[in-house]
Chain length 392, copies 2
């Protein structure tokens, strides 16, 4: 067919989508994979190198003096800001495009202070960390932010977030962009934990559920490689599904028998107090289990069964290959997961559980900030973002 | 930037992805949307017209004599074969690229005959219908097939299908392509029903669950615009989730208290027989309800509540905007759906149900074949398929 080139830089994005995995490739390999002519490849690779996004890679058996013949993503070309804002703490990090953390800080921060104080702290911390990493603000390719509530992902606005007073419909990207000129991606904290867990421990896994068990209970679901957000951004909100055991236990949502009212950290502590055991909160429960307290171990195991009851429905619906259990209560270790496994493997269909792993989160406390970084990197390296860079 | 064209037909697929929605556009509109030069647009539109995929569209206020200035997809350019193979019946149709049915046939067909007899009938019927529609076999752009069991979508092979003896790992696409040279897409029947329901009644909806209630109970889930298939192709298999009411009712799967053992057509009939009502199967239940039998109405309403109990977990996990209830038992009408709504709206969080519609399937018996057609059309109009056409 042939004919002249259609638009500026055509072929650059295709080429870069290949190279972004970091695997070094020769010009010949790139020509073969893209169908582009060798002469075009040479021009396009030069463009990407000029932008700093691609770098020559020395061959293992280089004879020296020869021109570089393999190329790969240059992870240091740009950086991203990753922020994991929780109910009472926040973590901010600067990472490169390979998700390596260059600088990081965690501090107590009360989400109920409202958006402006919380985002001001986040922004100031990001700028301080940038300076620490020796990078100018113009190097920021994107900003990823996780918040503890439902988010309309397309606009980055929280929607009716129950524990974030003052944040409803607040334009987080708009506010941040008044101060930093970079794309801003905002998502629910458990969603970004799912991204972080996959990046950390299960790269390439297309069907993963991350379950956060802490003061509340929620899940982030990756299916077919995509994070599921749902029509109102509340997909994964499994804390208020009813479990059989607890039909009379009242929940803060106004219903009775919700999973969160039975198996969250505060719920287990309350149950233990009812048995005369001194446990004020989830941390106390974790300490008791670590010291071998039988009542606490049994309560945690039962909480695992309750969680398993709800996850059985999730397994039937989603057919994931991995369920990772995280959040502060996951620190109790195997007793909780044993309860989950007991019910899921008993109750689910064999086909859905044959290759299902139910494991403790590997990313643990870093899942959130790692996922926020992934969210930003995915955007920064997307064809659309690169197209803007090329035509800028 | 500029430089010579990179690969054959570059820009054609981009252009076609715009035009495939059937909305007429001018060359100027196409240039604006794609960023391609006007001169390139002219060449590319001519190519698509030469392939027959795009056709000039007369303007409403045309002055006559002027060259055509608007273009759109030509739905009659090619056809697809759509087959919905159920447990005891099969429907085959020929549709155009706009999913309009050109010829259709439904006949009793026993899936347990095994793959070769069933697929032979399907193929012969497709060829007869093609002749009826006056189209040659070379016009077939793709073939979509739904079967009543789990399918590994990437290979088109059924995987451990419980009611399809002889079909396990059978290479359906390979067999069909020995006789017809076109891409073959195979999926689970409830998945294609979800596609068909969306195409028929909810175009543009990104989060839809189709629930089939018949001899078995299963769901097809579209989230973020994508059909969810799961790691083993068994996503949506909600029939064996336990419901609270039925902890002692045995199920064919070996467990007790499964949704299917309580709320499927045969299960409701069994329960009615236990009350002395003459109901041998789901069809009898439907007839009884239509004649106003109070016992049958109450049993159906309770089945709806049981289904609602499982759907509550699905709503929390997926946050859909539509749940469509289909399958042969949906013919009982509002009594079943009222039970579903009663539980889902009581038990789910307000945010997840605020904009949730729970409705009877509009596509009804046509959902399967309409979805098989959509599956084939989606593939036929995809960038990859078009690229092959352009470079052929």
């Amino acid at each position: 067919m042939g004919g002249e080139a259609a638009s500026a830089g055509m072929g650059v994005t295709e080429l870069f989508q290949l190279l972004r995995d970091g695997v070094p490739r020769t010009r010949a390999q790139l020509a073969k994979s893209t169908g582009l002519a060798r002469s075009t490849i040479a021009v396009r690779v030069d463009e990407l190198m000029r932008m700093g996004l691609v770098t020559p890679v020395a061959e293992a058996a280089s004879t020296g003096g020869r021109p570089p013949s393999q190329f790969a993503l240059n992870p240091g070309a740009r950086v991203v800001v990753a922020a994991d804002i929780g109910a009472s703490h926040a973590t901010v990090a600067i990472t490169d495009l390979g998700a390596t953390i260059l600088a990081e800080r965690t501090e107590p921060l009360d989400i109920t202070l409202g958006p402006v104080p919380v985002l001001t702290w986040t922004l100031e911390t990001a700028l301080a960390l940038l300076a620490e990493a020796g990078r100018p603000a113009r190097d920021i390719a994107a900003i990823g932010i996780g918040v503890p509530g439902p988010v309309e992902f397309s606009t980055g606005r929280p929607v009716n977030p129950p524990i974030m007073p003052g944040w409803d419909r607040f334009d987080i990207p708009g506010w941040v962009r008044q101060h930093l000129d970079a794309p801003v991606l905002v998502d629910n904290d458990v969603n970004i934990m799912a991204l972080g867990e996959r990046a950390t421990a299960w790269p390439g896994t297309e069907h993963l559920m991350f379950v956060k068990i802490a003061t509340g209970i929620g899940a982030g679901v990756i299916s077919g490689g995509q994070l599921l957000r749902g029509a109102q951004g509340v997909a994964g909100d499994i804390g208020h599904v009813r479990v059989a055991r607890g039909s009379d236990v009242p929940c803060s949502c106004g219903n009775r028998g919700c999973l969160e009212a039975l198996a969250s950290g505060p719920a287990i502590a309350r149950e233990l107090r009812g048995q005369g055991v001194d446990a004020q909160n989830g941390n106390d429960v974790v300490d008791l289990v670590k010291h071998g307290n039988i009542d606490a171990i049994q309560a945690v195991r039962q909480a695992g069964r309750d969680i398993g009851e709800v996850l059985t429905a999730c397994v039937s619906l989603m057919n994931p290959s991995v369920i990772a259990i995280g959040g502060s209560m996951a620190r109790v270790g195997e007793h909780l997961i044993a309860g989950v496994r007991e019910v899921v493997y008993t109750r689910s269909t064999p086909l859905a559980t044959e290759h299902l792993s139910i494991v403790q989160s590997s990313a643990a406390e870093n899942a959130g900030v790692s996922g926020a970084s992934m969210l930003a990197i995915e955007h920064a390296l997307s064809p659309a973002a690169l197209h803007m860079l090329v035509t800028a």
